[in-house]
Subunit: 205 residues, 2 copies
């Protein structure tokens, strides 16, 4: 079985334990021969995959009532992967969600590292500085790059620690965040684990 997470620029595939990303310009759903379970946020591709008999949307297996109506599918899937913990998906946005004994407790959305950096740069050329990921987030800053890094990262990192649950990091910037959470588990295929758990549960019914 193949798992596929279709985004706005790439399709993320997990097949026989191997992961690969295909740019949507080269992505041809019809070329897949096995059964595929997929999540899709790309409305332009909806019709194409819906009409393929061996493509199955993961949406049908999700109990939507556990979450809130406008919550993104990828966010739901990473939550489905974890019974108890705080899940940080650090991508273009950073989503932080809390699960307790399989129940969704809510979450919040922060800007991603890149969008925050760009927003500082738009405020003033003086703030258009690179983040200093070596900085100690428990101290106050005394130069501009540290002021901006601590200004963005310290509140976010401390807020995540405040939840006081095991921390799971996923998304492209997970390795950067891992340095601030010594006990966190970095899991780059959390979205696929959520899909797999839903499929396993669905097939038991």
């Amino acid at each position: 079985m193949t798992l596929c997470d279709i985004g706005n620029t790439t399709a993320d595939i997990l097949e026989n334990g191997l992961r690969r990303k295909i740019p949507l310009t080269e992505f041809d759903p019809e070329s897949f021969e096995c059964e595929v379970w997929y999540a899709n946020v790309n409305r332009a591709l909806d019709e194409k995959v819906e009409n393929l008999p061996h493509w199955h949307t993961i949406s049908t297996l999700i109990e939507r009532d556990k979450y809130y109506p406008t919550m993104g599918i990828d966010r739901i899937l990473v939550c489905e992967a974890i019974e108890d913990g705080v899940i940080v998906d650090a991508g273009s946005a950073i989503t932080v969600d809390v699960m307790s004994d399989g129940i969704y407790e809510g979450g919040f959305i922060s800007l991603g590292l890149r969008s925050a950096h760009e927003a500082y740069g738009r405020l003033s050329p003086a703030l258009d500085v690179s983040f200093n990921f070596e900085v100690d987030l428990d101290k106050m800053a005394k130069n501009t790059p540290d002021s901006v890094t601590i200004g963005f990262l310290a509140p976010l990192v401390h807020e995540i620690q405040r939840v006081n649950k095991p921390i799971y990091l996923t998304g492209g910037d997970a390795p950067i965040f891992a340095r601030y959470f010594t006990d966190a588990i970095v899991d780059e295929i959390l979205v696929f684990k959520g899909m797999q758990k839903l499929i396993n549960k669905g097939s038991k019914c």
Copy 2:
């Protein structure tokens, strides 16, 4: 004596206890007849005010070694106003600075409310939502506007509280932040109080 804080779009004036803002397009330093102490971040106006005999730059009264070289003059002035506390200047950026017994401990710079809102909107049309300032920052969110509001405000507010010192709020968005800090002191003329303290100290020498 007149105090004047020149920014990039307006000159902020305190004269006989009365405050007024003059758009720079209508601002004529030569029209002031009394002695003026000023802070200026607008390089284009430097020469003009420097050459007026009754205009005195506050910079000459600041011990720059207490702060860091690239720190903005307005940030230094609000710090000079406070002996002990955390000073939050919530404007286009939000600067947070800590003073202990007159010593500058450092600080950090967060995005301002407007720039954060704009950055969310740039990430996705789904995140282009107004902040909900009524939200409880101690809970997790279960809808998009609350997720974005809590994502931006809760980490920042908790980080400021974490300093565990009296909180002073200034800048255009101070009234919004005041609702999250029940004991905070809102002081819209903190920058002028810093100027006045420096002038008083300078005249004693």
